[in-house]
């Protein structure tokens, strides 16, 4: 759905430009072919652009060139193969080739949390931009898409000035990205808005031309994609601000779950009742083991760190609480596990040795194989540390999980994980788990005890099948 907003710039107002390469539509490059960059490169080739994907990781580039997407994303494999075949899409590890191809270069490299603090690690951005800038030989636009601290675009402008010929007139712009893993293709082809931070009409026009395929697709489907044109700082902030809000909303309902647990309320009913209010809305209002992944946790921490540097740390102190609420949900599962298994929860945590626990789910959300800062995996680690024999199964995430947390056992099926378990924990809301048959599972489990860490199971169904059921924040 698009919301018409009177002050957003109408797309018609933008003057056409000729791309510096002379091609009829700008030629695009994407630097960093991870989740974000690979999805973009593939989807924009699909929209008809000539695209080069660049990465420093040779293995990844080889895989992509061979037609295989190195991560799980529904629908992407087919698009990759189709566009490789069309000749519009290629991958390289060569900066010069990338610089030569592109009119608009999108920076899509990772910006993880720094090992030594809460701030974002910008070394990959720096490497990609300077590597590219050194090889650019004509005017071009460098567009940041990675999630970065406010002020980064200005810094990149200086970086480009240092590494490129000044008379080339290379410009910088910012266009934050909102795709969600699991829906990445749809989100790239049909975004609910495009935000650009620009300093010149030329940059604005080039960005418009570089997204014209998205606007044209929308027009054929009788939709409109609003474009918000603003300054660098605001564009950078949009992304972290959006993530800060979503994290806050999730932690808000999880805080209500904490209160429900002591007051005897039911947070699922509470969420339903407040979700009717259109000022609140029911999206992102499911209580559970909280958020994780490569974005939300690191983004809210980096945001706080940056605000601190700017002297506005006070403004974002609530995000620290949001983070703590989120992390407490993980310990809560451990606590409920101890209760269900009749183990004492002492100051050092419970002793779960001698118990067998099935953990269903490892990824931070369903329809993804991403296990970065995944609550499911974190809980599995806590259970293991407490001495339990943990058997994990995830429909897509086993391989990544085994690399990140080698101390638990990985099973090839839900059944194998549940076999003889004293306790089952559902920690990622995959459809396979939501639709599981509690009677069938009850026959193979040893103890019919289940923790629904995502409030995604039908509690009546499970209770009727003889399971002792515990949700999150449900009395």
């Amino acid at each position: 759905m698009t919301i018409p907003y009177p002050t957003s710039q109408s797309v018609q107002a933008i003057a056409p430009v000729t791309p510096p390469s002379g091609a009829p539509r700008p030629r695009l490059t994407f630097l960093g072919t991870g989740y974000l960059g690979a999805t973009y490169a593939i989807c924009f080739a699909e929209l008809g652009y000539e695209v080069v994907g660049f990465d420093v990781d040779e293995a990844k580039i080889a895989k992509l060139s061979a037609g295989s997407v190195p991560f799980h994303e529904p629908g992407l494999d087919e698009l990759l193969r189709r566009n490789l075949a069309s000749g519009r899409l290629r991958f390289t590890t060569d900066y010069a080739e990338t610089a030569e191809h592109g009119d608009v270069h999108f920076i899509c490299v990772g910006t993880p949390q720094r090992a030594d603090g809460m701030g974002a690690d910008l070394s990959y951005v720096e490497a990609a931009v300077s590597g590219l800038a050194q090889h650019v030989t004509r005017k071009a636009l460098i567009v940041g898409k990675s999630t970065v601290p406010v002020g980064t675009a200005e810094w990149i402008e200086q970086l480009v000035g240092k590494h490129a010929e000044p008379d080339l007139g290379i410009e910088v712009a910012w266009s934050p990205e909102f795709l969600q893993e699991g829906f990445a293709v749809e989100d790239v082809l049909r975004p609910n808005r495009i935000v650009v931070g620009v300093k010149s009409d030329w940059a604005n026009s080039m960005l418009f031309a570089a997204h014209k395929g998205v606007f044209d697709l929308a027009a054929t489907e009788d939709r409109e994609v609003p474009m918000v044109v603003t300054d660098f700082a605001t564009a950078e902030l949009v992304k972290v601000a959006a993530n800060a809000f979503l994290a806050t909303k999730i932690s808000f309902i999880n805080a209500m779950a904490e209160v429900c647990e002591v007051a005897g309320g039911d947070v699922t009913q509470l969420a339903k009742a407040i979700g009717y209010d259109p000022r609140i809305g029911n999206r992102f209002l499911q209580a559970g083991v909280g958020f994780g992944g490569g974005c939300l946790p690191k983004d809210i921490r980096a945001f706080q760190a940056r605000a601190q540097e700017l002297g506005a740390g006070e403004a974002l102190r609530f995000l620290h609480e949001v983070d703590l609420i989120n992390l407490r949900r993980r310990t809560k599962v451990l606590q409920v596990a101890a209760e269900l298994l009749d183990r004492r929860f002492g100051p050092a945590g419970p002793d779960l040795s001698g118990t067998k626990i099935a953990v269903l789910g490892a990824t931070f959300k369903p329809n993804s194989d991403d296990v970065r800062d995944a609550p499911a995996l974190a809980v599995a680690a806590l259970l293991r540390k407490a001495g339990a024999d943990v058997h994990t199964y995830d429909p897509q995430g086993n391989e990544n999980a085994a690399r990140a947390l080698p101390t638990v056992t990985y099973e090839d099926s839900m059944k194998a994980a549940v076999q003889d378990a004293d306790l089952v924990c559902v920690l990622t809301e995959w459809a396979e788990f939501r639709n599981a048959d509690p009677t069938a599972l009850g026959e193979i489990a040893k103890g019919k005890k289940v923790i629904d860490g995502r409030n995604c199971l039908d509690s009546t169904l499970w209770t009727n099948a003889g399971w002792e059921y515990r949700g999150m924040g449900r009395g």
């Binding site: 698009t2 957003s8 603003t230 700082a233 806050t248 009717y276 006070e314 974002l316």
Partner: protein
């Protein structure tokens, strides 16, 4: 079962609105209050506060003969089948907790006279656990004893839209302990439910929590965008572009995402504080510790507005003439409880400014609480000769002010838009120095 006769105990904003609307919808209603003057005014057809549409409905309800008012609990107990408790639950003096003395007093006064089966329904905003406590109290005090049941039906009406919200709410929440109580509540809301309003039936504790949770969320959303404004102020970004870009995300939504001077009124501030206090008592204070930050962000917006005015006044407001547009905590209301507008106006006065206030509805209330301030006849009158104009409540009539007309009467054309209510380009074009929170 038959249509229940209703009593509404406590006829303030909430109670008077509920009583009047229910009578208009066809119920026989008795309004009860300890404040004789208020009861007399209501009985004579006068709504003691500003609420669009309500005076007309009061006249209609009185004329129908279905609505009466009394100060007698005995009469109320004899009359009613379903009793709605709508008394105030203000912040306790010297503490963050809710003051429950009015709820306890009114329920006790009613219970003593309850001699037949009846349902007592709490509507006031209360700490979780109150319903359970009152259930025990009522059963002990009422001659009808165990025949009396308690239910909770939290209220979500917004002042300024109270009639609409009562007649056509987003949802109804019934916290009940028995099927009988649910049936009685359904009967007491029959005409409302007939319009397909969703009902969430739940336990007493969840129903109590729904209200404070909803208010906590709204407060959080407002303070969230105001925190973004603080960051924008530190970076030169523009929070109104930011809010616009965020609003396209349907998980966020544009409602309550308008940056500005923050929230006030008789509900949000006291409700989030009472929630913190109650969570603390329950041993989960850390769960809602974030609300302290939410409160802090909100308070800082007021200070920031004072700073912006001071900046435009040349660094010192002493002896400067300041026009304050707005006093109510929000437009379409005369409610000045914890109003950010009056807080800013009185702070400027304390700092030595000559402050002239105008508000379309809240003048009388404002004068009572802040007699030290000067009051104008209208916006232009308040702005006459002003060094700085500050817009503090986003009444439509302020949004529609002609910047050129106002420029003609002020001393200096400088304005602080505390509510992002004006179009900056228009005001700047008319020669104004325009400043807003969170914008360059």
């Amino acid at each position: 079962m038959n249509t229940p006769r209703l009593t509404v105990i406590g006829t303030g904003y909430l109670g008077a609105t509920h009583a009047i609307c229910m009578a208009v919808l066809g119920f026989e209603v008795l309004g009860v209050d300890v404040d004789q003057a208020k009861i007399d005014r209501l009985a004579s057809g006068e709504v003691p506060f500003f609420e669009p549409g309500l005076p007309e409905l009061l006249a209609k309800a009185l004329e129908s003969g279905r609505l009466r008012f009394t100060t007698s609990f005995e009469e109320a107990a004899a009359f009613g089948d379903v009793h709605f408790i709508c008394v105030g639950t203000p912040q306790k003096q010297g503490s963050h907790a809710a003051d429950m003395t009015y709820v306890d007093a009114s329920v006790a006064a009613l219970a003593k006279h309850l001699t037949r089966k009846a349902l007592v329904v709490g509507k006031s905003t209360v700490p979780v656990g109150t319903a359970a406590r009152l259930t025990a109290m009522v059963k002990e005090l009422a001659p009808a004893g165990d025949e009396i049941e308690l239910a909770w039906n939290p209220e979500f009406l917004r002042e300024g839209f109270a009639v609409e919200d009562t007649m056509r709410p987003d949802r109804l929440v019934f916290g009940v302990a028995s099927a009988w109580a649910e049936e009685r509540l359904r009967a007491a809301f029959e005409p409302v439910l007939a319009q397909d309003v969703p009902v969430k039936v739940t336990d007493l504790a969840t129903a109590e929590l729904v209200k404070v949770a909803a208010n906590s969320f709204l407060a959080t959303k407002i303070s969230y965008i105001n925190a973004m404004a603080e960051v924008c102020e530190a970076t030169g970004a523009d929070v109104s572009d930011l809010a616009e870009a965020l609003a396209f995300d349907t998980r966020i939504g544009g409602r309550f995402l308008r940056p500005g001077l923050g929230f006030g009124g008789g509900c949000l501030p006291k409700d989030i504080r009472a929630f913190m206090a109650r969570a603390e008592e329950l041993g989960v204070g850390q769960a809602v510790g974030f609300l302290r930050e939410i409160d802090g962000i909100n308070q800082r917006r007021r200070a920031r507005t004072v700073d912006l005015v001071t900046e435009l006044a040349g660094g010192d407001v002493r002896g400067k003439k300041i026009a304050a547009l707005g006093a109510a905590f929000k437009p379409n209301s005369d409610d000045i409880r914890d109003a950010p507008a009056l807080d800013v106006a009185s702070t400027l006065h304390r700092l030595g400014a000559e402050v002239t206030v105008f508000d379309p509805a809240a003048m009388e209330n404002a004068k009572r609480v802040h007699p030290e301030l000067t009051y104008g006849e209208n916006a232009l009158d308040a702005a006459a000769g002003a060094d700085v104009v500050v817009l503090l409540t986003e009444w439509t009539e302020f949004r529609e002010i002609d910047p050129a007309a106002m420029a003609a009467v002020v001393g200096t054309a400088a304005i602080v838009d505390g509510r992002h209510a004006l179009e900056p380009a228009e005001w700047r074009a008319a020669g104004w120095e325009y400043r807003a929170l969170g914008r360059p």
